[in-house]
Symmetry: C2
Subunit: 595 residues, 2 copies
Amino acid sequence: MPAYKAPVEDALFLLNDVFHIERYANLVGFSEATPDVVAAVLGTAARFCEEVLAPLNQVGDEEGCRRSDDGGVVTPTGFKEAYRRYVEGGWIGLAVPPDHGGLGLPDTISQLVTEFMVSANLAFAIYPTLTQGAIAALLLHGAAEQKALYVPKLASGEWTGTMNLTEAHCGTDLGLVRTKAARQGDGSYRITGTKVFISAGEHDLAANIIHLVLARIEGAPPGTHGLSLFVVPKIIPQADGTLGAPNAVSCGALEDKMGIHASPTCVMNYDGATGWLVGEENRGLNAMFVMMNEARLGVGLEGLALSEVAYQNAAQYAKDRLQGRALTGAKFKDLPADPIIVHPDVRRMLLTIRAFNEAARALIVWTSLQSDVARRSDDAKARQAADDHMGLLTPVIKGVLTDTGFANTVTAQQVFGGHGYIREWGMEQFVRDARIPMIYEGSNGIQALDLVGRKLGKDGGRAIMAFFAEVQGYVRENAADAVLKPLVEPLGKALGHLQQATVWFMQNAIGKPDNAGAGATDYMHLMGLVVLGYMWCRIAAAAQAKLSPDPGGRMAGKLVTARFFMERMLPETATRLARIEAGAGAVMELPVEAF
Amino acid sequence: MPAYKAPVEDALFLLNDVFHIERYANLVGFSEATPDVVAAVLGTAARFCEEVLAPLNQVGDEEGCRRSDDGGVVTPTGFKEAYRRYVEGGWIGLAVPPDHGGLGLPDTISQLVTEFMVSANLAFAIYPTLTQGAIAALLLHGAAEQKALYVPKLASGEWTGTMNLTEAHCGTDLGLVRTKAARQGDGSYRITGTKVFISAGEHDLAANIIHLVLARIEGAPPGTHGLSLFVVPKIIPQADGTLGAPNAVSCGALEDKMGIHASPTCVMNYDGATGWLVGEENRGLNAMFVMMNEARLGVGLEGLALSEVAYQNAAQYAKDRLQGRALTGAKFKDLPADPIIVHPDVRRMLLTIRAFNEAARALIVWTSLQSDVARRSDDAKARQAADDHMGLLTPVIKGVLTDTGFANTVTAQQVFGGHGYIREWGMEQFVRDARIPMIYEGSNGIQALDLVGRKLGKDGGRAIMAFFAEVQGYVRENAADAVLKPLVEPLGKALGHLQQATVWFMQNAIGKPDNAGAGATDYMHLMGLVVLGYMWCRIAAAAQAKLSPDPGGRMAGKLVTARFFMERMLPETATRLARIEAGAGAVMELPVEAF
């Protein structure tokens, strides 16, 4: 069975040494997040994830969720008890404001806890992360009585939440949504329609399930401008929160999937169910976008989390498995063979994963801090800059971290040779589970289009210009630093490629949008490489300041891994640029029937 | 359920128009392979694979193989009947010499048939391809009476074959093999030991199973130089081929795997089983290498075959699925949305797969023809050149075609969005099945080391020099050709990168083998890109000669796809070169405990 150890030390290094969380003490909730509190919270979360959630990961995969005779959904052995303990720990409401039943800690801390939880057990983690998305939407768009009724129960975990967007004929294109909402006179609506791919739509972990549902009010215009958001509880609560009558909503079927077997993916039937409008009429997509941006950051995090647990197990296997001898002669002469970690190609695989993981975690922390600023700062200018950062980097985090995270689970599986293909070793589950984050919450092609088609040009390019200025400034300031020079030089070159690609779009894609579409995925990955390279510079600077004389020490390891990233991963920017500059010609030339 | 249509037209185009199979008429068996015969054989194979094997692919995945109470293995519903019909068709012995019970057709034709079979049903295809490997080893190394006893029954499919190399503690490092062989005085040996990961080690498709087993004769030296090859039948045949007594060999367990569920992966116990030496004592690994090279070419082919069937289904889905509108405005105004194939990013995905598939198929045909020359020519110089080609390109074909083939199944799955993750659509099975070719028959890291550590320097670099000369000559000869100039120019640049990398190894890896090890995988992929680029030039030249005025025609499509490859895939050579030239520094610097 795979093992997992939460990277608490690395998380604390990022918070304290790289991003100096103490500088954010002016934000609501941050003054409570003293170094001691944060270390205690992460330590407790780590133990829970390592000892309770990780051991259930394979069981969950093997058993999966199943339907009961009464139409309910039964979760795998151990999930109910684990969820009960998770709720007791108060983890779901970690970052929810105290007046809504949460602990009010920084969202950044909650994200790090979520990383641990996903590494330990992605299928389990989906239940509470969807709940957190529902809380975010209700807090931002719900009426006061909706917040009061639902949020505390969601934040405690007594109830869970869902997002209902997709229908069989529309995933990306929500303008085609057919689910209907009819006014009932008492302020409520009758919701009728069928939603598909609804994670945690039905299960036995919590007493109630609060569905947020996109539907079209009778007479509303077609397309996305006619969609409204509704809250549709599985069991209709009374005003005091006690459970009332069951609603006309049911799970029609469970999907049989490649992975995340312990997370039920439901067909949800709304047969004249009672729902209440959240926010304004016909502004449902806007309200949903809040949940989606939250969710996209969280899905990007899933890519990192699976890459992390896959790395840990591959590294251990490489140290344990004896096979062959080092190319430079036997290194462990008293053993029948050397452990395979002596081989450069095995180390290349491990370092490729690790050089991604540590920088991706930095990117998550950096961006989560911006998310906290955007929500909690009372400085409008700071909020705007943080919003710009979030808007620009969310699609990059979602797309790049899940594409690369998946590729890394495949690489980690490869380290195991034949054992990687055998289920009991657990590596192939990481691959199957890591495949879904590339698809859900907007497939990665959609993220790339969002980045290139919307985010680049938004507000006259303000966000991308700020990003360029920050990275360029960092490169310039550290160009003469003995430790950083070998890192910022390649970063500067990579940034140049990104800027060149941006200019190419400005010159070639305005009026010819196919030139943007054909280069969007490569642009997203090019930007991902630049931002991860920037994170490595920031990490290396902090590591250098804490360096011990031990060449096997954590900080020394970070400096070597930073060099590995610059030498072996960042050079890909040249290829990405070449593809972008090739334009849409050959891509669009063939008629449809030639495919 | 996924569909499959065998690419017969493309295969015939490669044989007739690109590689001019008629020029090989001097080889044994080729004069019989007239265009009509080849077209008929491929057409018949296509129908069988499309109509019989493909419909069993999902059933096989869902049911898998299971153990029966008597220790046997039961194949999924329909497999016995399909195998019976496969045997009736004479497909296994297609390229086996007629005096050993086969049809004696070119191996190249047999490889194309295998591609169709793997696309339709990889798990099924594993049974006969292992049999073909056993036939090859027996024909080359077996005694006359062994050939007479075993080969006709294997070639007909009445019996099947296996390869038994791996033990629990040794996969790559066969020097650690512990299975023992004791002389019995009557010329036979008692074989004792346990082998793992034995494909088709036990099943119910055939009357007998002929195991080829690596074992160490008592008193033989340790390491690989003490290994001998034995033939160990499940049921000991009498001299006339009728079945006699059961042998002391049994299946101890079936592995539960990520994919290829319909192919049983067995733990095989040899409890003093009777075996007979094949070839010379202590030369077992040499005899096995014949099977391994055959098998590696075949495994590379699997990467292509799965990529092909995944492409076909993704292209169809992209034409069927209505979602959103083209970036340049609605293309199908009478539909509620455009099919997603109007989107550049979807086309990018499809063309990335297709630009690989068509060139990879050309590479298989080109190399299979060399395999035929190596076995069938009576010109020693031609045989040597063909052997050089095979030795050099086998690891590239195995490593690059399976890495890329797998990546392509993932990309094809991505085209399906959420449906790609659902089992009933079948795309996720292609991903799970395509994962194993990267591992078995020597994991891809081993292929890269074989290429860089053995094949490059062999015979003073004769093979790589011949390859450089051929591609360089082609580039030079066609530099002024109006159609080929835009293709051979980037090919020449990519070849330059490959040559530069080769020189870098000569200057930096002799005496510092870690510099070769750290760059081996990138070198393998760099060479793969160059050879696929060369294939595209050859394809484009032939397509240009057959061009019709129809812009949607097959030949026009090839010219566009060739350009796509040059513009978007070949530029990766620069990144591969940069990684190689980074050397082993950062890769080897960290102490083992830092991982």
